[in-house]
Assembly symmetry: C2
């Protein structure tokens, strides 16, 4: 993987760059649709590629490991072949899912012990086998196993957890260096900064991670319930330490406003389930603000979902029609909302890139953030 | 609506013809995907049009009347505008759903009284208001309100019910003749032959209906649990009476084999939820036979879903991938299966048309029926 910094915004820490993997080149800031278990929920590969035009998607190691299982993925020749996706893939390390989904879990020095949320079967993720699993998945960017602390989290636990995350990182990097890709493309390995909402821990973690010299660096453990000011403050302090010549990935963030504010703080890569998960529930992100499509006010509104966007779903379907589908629990409602919202998120980071290049990012961001957050 | 008989098969009662509505021309035998509440479940309009290439779809009056409601449909300018579908639409009369879905129902001379399965609200369908509702929906082909008898059904009840269905038909035809389309296109009105599995009742009903001289005629009350031999026997006797110069529509039928056998008996139009409903549950109809995609045997089968078809879903996704999606209850699994199965059904009736034209229908049908019914 290569990262080339193209332009820095004069009025903020925002920057645009180019990321090259063996599955394509794309520009940052970038938003990665979440393809949980080998599928972006409700979205055909063709739509993801041709309509949403996603250059990179995210896969969840936890889900893929449980289903279809690494035996199937290995026989398929990796996740790219299994889901027939020839662009880039980043996989998380499964740490977050173990803490949020698994039935019973125990964290030990060795790794995370948990029971599957599907059938209760027992499994272990270690810093080493998480590398091995992601070698089999064949993602272009693999993530280190970390402990994602919850919010709130007392200082003592956060500090202790951070030590573990750092020791796990070293073991993960060793495994990464001692193993080779299973397929014909190289893989990168990103460490994750933790430290809850404690500035000194975040600094310690960012310094620890920066000096590993990996291809890119991630910020984890945010957007887990803390006040948004804390999220921005932690991101800012971490980004002041993480190297400028490597992409910075803020995991699991967030609303359109969160994304623009974090771009202003120097973040390059994002992923979030919000456009798809909230979309399935009727929340539609548009260039004019946020729509709750279930509201009665859209019942007889036969105008396009978002006249400001070019995606086919917005041109071909009306608000009233989408409202009917979502209220009736029709799959097509979730499908339309997911495609629309993902297209909107990718349009948004694309606009951000243009504004960074033209030097207007800060002014534009401050104007549009208010508009995008408005409830229509 | 116009129907032009093009060719009759020398070895059976199969025939091919051309149907013209104000929303397009298409050839029969034809299969109509079921678009229950203004959507073919899990299928985008674009896929229905460009990939599945459906010239006509079916809408359920019962569902549309309850949601989004006729007020919304009227304001939208009818169902074509509401769902942005510019090809033909046939709507059923709601009779079948009242009997199969509604919470509480009572059949009186005046009409069917029922409570919504959604919110328990009370409603009445009469032969007249069913015409009015379908005028508002604006379907190209409207159906008469009938009583769909269950199976088994004793002779006495079937005879009594048939009398009611015929009286309702006369009232429906009167309402149809005394009202005008609400939009710029004309609408046709099809009566429905009933009579359970009793040959004399079916003859009586077919004769009664044939002499109404409507644009087309339907056969209802079959595929409700009776032995398949009874279904074919009833279809055969009814088709020997229904006029040859009008399309014959066998409602709610059926498996690929049912469809081919019924084409051989002179049926021109079909609809069935099987390709979508069974598809969502993992039943895949292919040119080689029926697949239960949940079976372990497909776990590592990375071959196309059906190498024999041209649809994008079959080219882009493998059996192993589809199996994973269906087992994981991923929406995309239901979407792929629905598109695949609908494409298969439309391909099948298309092949039937070609074989009727070339005079090979009976030989071909007898060969392929065995293959299509095989469990792979």
């Amino acid at each position: 993987m290569k990262f080339q910094l193209i332009h820095k915004d004069p009025g903020s820490s925002a920057r645009t760059g180019r990321i090259d993997t063996r599955h394509g080149s794309f520009y940052s800031p970038v938003f990665m649709p979440v393809g949980t278990g080998g599928t972006v929920k409700g979205v055909h590969k063709r739509e993801l590629k041709e309509d949403i035009n996603a250059p990179i998607i995210l896969g969840n190691t936890y889900h893929l490991y449980l289903r279809p299982g690494i035996d199937v993925l290995e026989k398929a020749g990796g996740l790219h072949a299994f889901m027939n996706w020839d662009r880039s893939i980043l996989t998380d390390s499964g740490g977050y899912q173990v803490f949020s989904l698994a039935e019973i879990r125990r964290i030990k020095e060795q790794g995370a012990f948990f029971q599957s949320h599907i059938d209760g079967s027992k499994h272990t993720f270690t810093p080493e086998n998480i590398v091995d699993i992601q070698r089999i998945i064949g993602s272009d960017i693999m993530m280190a196993l970390d402990e994602c602390t919850p919010y709130p989290c007392d200082y003592k636990y956060a500090e202790k957890s951070l030590g573990l995350t750092h020791r796990w990182l070293d073991r993960g990097i060793r495994q990464f260096r001692e193993t080779n890709p299973k397929y014909s493309h190289e893989q990168s390995f990103f460490p994750i900064v933790q430290g809850s909402v404690y500035k000194d821990l975040r600094i310690r973690s960012a310094e620890y991670i920066a000096e590993k010299g990996m291809d890119g660096n991630a910020i984890g453990g945010l957007s887990v319930g803390e006040p948004v000011e804390d999220m921005y403050a932690m991101t800012e302090v971490v980004n002041s330490i993480l190297p400028e010549d490597k992409p910075r990935y803020l995991m699991g963030v967030g609303t359109p406003a969160n994304i623009l504010e974090s771009i202003a703080l120097g973040v390059d890569m994002f992923d979030c389930v919000m456009p798809t998960r909230n979309g399935r529930n009727g929340m539609i992100f548009t260039s004019e603000g946020i729509i709750n499509i279930k509201n009665a006010k859209w019942k007889n509104d036969f105008s396009p979902i978002d006249p400001g966007t070019e995606i086919f779903t917005s041109k071909q379907y009306s608000k009233a029609y989408l409202r009917h589908l979502v209220i009736s629990n029709e799959m097509l409602g979730a499908q339309i909302a997911s495609i629309h919202n993902l297209h909107f998120y990718l349009w948004l980071v694309g606009e951000a890139r243009i504004k960074i290049l033209s030097g207007e990012f800060s002014t534009w961001k401050n104007q549009i953030v208010k508009k995008l957050s408005a409830r229509l």
